[in-house]
């Protein structure tokens, strides 16, 4: 496997804690994501993985701690600031725009890069049309890459689950993100679909050089794909390292086999 060519830190999470009322979802979690790597976050159900992603892209605001992204440190930010900064995301339960076609969903991912105002769009002439076509070209590249040409005009609600996940990945890629967060990209897929999705994830990382942080339950996939793995359990980070190191870690084995604490 190709190793990331740089050890520059893209995202640094320092001492983040998050609580909902009395429930502590995250407790003093720190880790980093290096530029160009595939970073996995694993852990049993309820370990706080999705909460961690929600904190990173600004949907939840942590009670303590700070996040440094591209050298800028802040305690919290708004979701659209995160997206503007170059963080894209897919969701555990597919969060596509169900009333729109696959093409429109992916085009919506280009919003941040489209500049033409209301009046030009209304006339759909000159610069507005040119912009629309230019972005259509970029989106068609993504559609080719994900091999979903045949379904580009189908409303996503009609697509099978596996394809919906692929369209959602396409929408995230359309943002041309620096950091791509994938929340269980392979949940509920059969073996073949998992292989396809793994191939796309590795390709995205290779071709576009996109840094990827992913949550996944399938250990075989995680150990194959990722360069480094962080393990959460009950909101606490219990291990961090290469897949091999993590596999041997006694704490991780206990957490997964459920040894009495």
């Amino acid at each position: 496997m190709r190793m990331p060519d740089t050890s520059e830190i893209l995202l640094l999470v320092q001492g983040v804690s998050l609580a909902f009322g009395g429930v502590k979802a995250l407790r003093d979690v720190s880790f980093d994501i290096r530029k160009g790597e595939i970073r996995a976050i694993i852990g049993p159900n309820g370990a706080g993985k999705t909460s961690m992603l929600n904190v990173i892209n600004g949907f939840y605001h942590p009670n303590h701690g700070a996040i440094t992204f591209k050298g800028q440190t802040r305690a919290q930010m708004q979701p659209f600031e995160a997206s503007r900064g170059g963080i894209a995301r897919t969701f555990q339960n597919v969060a596509l725009f169900r009333g729109m076609s696959a093409l429109d969903n992916i085009m919506a991912g280009r919003t941040l890069r489209m500049r033409r105002g209301l009046f030009l769009q209304m006339l759909r002439y000159g610069p507005a049309l040119a912009e629309e076509i230019e972005h259509r070209h970029r989106v068609e590249e993504i559609i080719d890459f994900l091999e979903i040409e045949a379904i580009r005009k189908v409303p996503v609600a009609r697509l099978p689950y596996g394809l919906q996940k692929r369209v959602e990945l396409g929408r995230a890629l359309a943002m041309e993100p620096d950091l791509l967060l994938l929340d269980e990209p392979m949940a509920g897929m059969n073996l073949e679909e998992k292989e396809d999705m793994s191939r796309f994830i590795v390709d995205v990382n290779n071709h576009y050089g996109t840094t990827i942080a992913l949550i996944e339950h399938d250990m075989a996939v995680v150990m194959d794909l990722s360069h480094r793995v962080a393990v959460l359990d009950h909101g606490v980070k219990i291990a961090d390292g290469t897949p091999d190191e993590v596999k041997k870690n006694q704490g991780v084995i206990d957490a997964y086999l459920g040894v009495a604490h």
Binding site: N57, F59, P79, F80, A82, S83, R84, A88, R89, F91, A95, L96, F97, R98, G99, M100, D104, M107, A108, G109, R110, T111, L112, M114, R116, L118, Q121, M122, L123, R124, A128, L129, E131, E132, I133, R136, H137, E140, R171, A172, M175
Partner: protein, 375 residues
């Protein structure tokens, strides 16, 4: 076999993104526009059936065009952006009364500052468009709560707009130029020196308005802004996480929608009613517009036309058919039947086909494309 896209190859994305990518659709639209712009006026001029009286033009086509325009406005907000509104009537009223004030001259005495603001009467066209602009501003103001509240809560916020403006135009005499009866008359309709008086002229005027607005609205909803609206409608959280600002998306939807509704309100008052009272824009009007959009199709410009046509034609059919069958119904019974049919239809469509008649038509087209094969 007539309706096929096989053999029509598109070599550029621009072609693929045309409003009607299929040739047969373009031909049908051309014929329809030809009938609307040339056929109807010709028939009406020579009083040829069905235009042997002015009834069809006055009582059906004119209100159809204006209400379809308003329905497009409602559809932008409700159908595309997913923000429910029960206050469309109020925004029609704002358009109508603003246009009226601008058309008759505005005088705001500012006694405290010792001077007055006076604007001389404006020509009709700028009055109508500025009326739409005023409605857009009001739309933005009443859209601000939508940033914090959703769905049903917003329904109550728009009801506030409805009842508040009902009251304003009824009770603040400044808006009606102190007319003792509360009823006001539209200024003379004069467009660039051309007087618009006869039903045919009025019809053509509204036809031009709705054609232009329908194209502009269609362009918006299939462009970047339209995608932002629909994204907010379908899943606002995900929309925000891909960089769509809810503030911008929602307020533009409110502004565009209210502008179109405001212009429709001004046309309704100036061109159709001629003289009117605030009652013309009550909550009944708001609900009627909402029904047009649901029946015609949420999120479909064409659906707005279908819905408006249906809502206008149903009462006429209810009147006509029993009379033809020899069992004429009383006006009251017709109104009640209308209520029941509209209500049932709304429920039926929401259950079976949330995208209304427009969706049924496009399913029909899909079937036709494959005919005589099932798939």
């Amino acid at each position: 076999m007539l309706y096929r896209e096989a053999g029509q190859f598109k070599t550029t994305y621009a072609e693929d993104m045309a409003i009607f990518p299929i040739r047969q659709d373009r031909i049908a639209l051309g014929i329809l526009l030809g009938i609307a712009f040339v056929g109807v006026p010709l028939l009406a001029t020579f009083h040829i059936w069905p235009f042997n009286s002015e009834y069809l033009l006055w009582a059906i086509l004119l209100p159809f065009l204006i209400l379809a325009l308003a329905a497009i406005g409602v559809n932008v907000l409700v159908g595309y952006c997913g923000q429910i509104s029960l206050g469309s009537g109020a925004f029609m009223a704002i358009g109508a009364y603003s246009a009226y004030k601008l058309g008759t001259g505005v005088h705001i005495p500012l006694a405290w500052f010792g001077f007055a603001i006076s604007i001389p009467p404006l020509p009709v066209l700028p009055s109508i468009l500025l009326g739409g602009l005023m409605a857009a501003i009001a739309g933005i103001l009443f859209g601000i709560p939508s940033l914090r509240i959703k769905g049903l809560y917003l329904a109550v916020a728009t009801l506030a707009a409805q009842f508040f403006f009902d009251w304003v135009f009824l009770r603040v005499p400044w808006f009606t130029n102190y007319a003792p009866s509360g009823s006001v008359n539209a200024p003379r309709l004069d467009f660039f020196g051309l007087a618009v008086n006869t039903p045919i002229e009025r019809y053509l005027l509204c036809l031009i308005f709705i054609t232009v607005f329908a194209v502009l609205a269609k362009n918006l909803v299939r462009g970047n802004l339209g995608r932002q609206w629909m994204a907010i409608r379908d899943m606002d959280i995900a929309a925000e996480l891909i960089g769509i600002r809810p503030l911008y998306a929602k307020l533009t939807a409110f502004a565009v929608s209210s502008f179109i509704i405001g212009v429709a309100g001004a046309l309704w008052a100036f061109v159709y009613l001629g003289s009117w009272e605030p009652l013309a824009f009550s909550i009944d009007r708001s609900l009627q517009l909402l029904f047009m959009v649901i029946i015609g199709g949420l999120g479909s410009i064409m659906g707005s036309f279908v819905g408006a046509a249906f809502i206008l034609i149903l009462p006429i059919l209810l009147n006509l058919i029993p009379t033809q069958l020899g069992v004429p119904l009383s006006t009251e019974t017709i109104t009640h039947l209308e209520f029941i049919i509209f209500g049932s239809l709304i429920c039926y469509l929401l259950i079976k086909e949330p995208h209304g008649f427009a969706r049924l038509i496009s399913i029909g087209k899909e079937k036709l494309r494959l005919w005589p094969f099932p798939y």
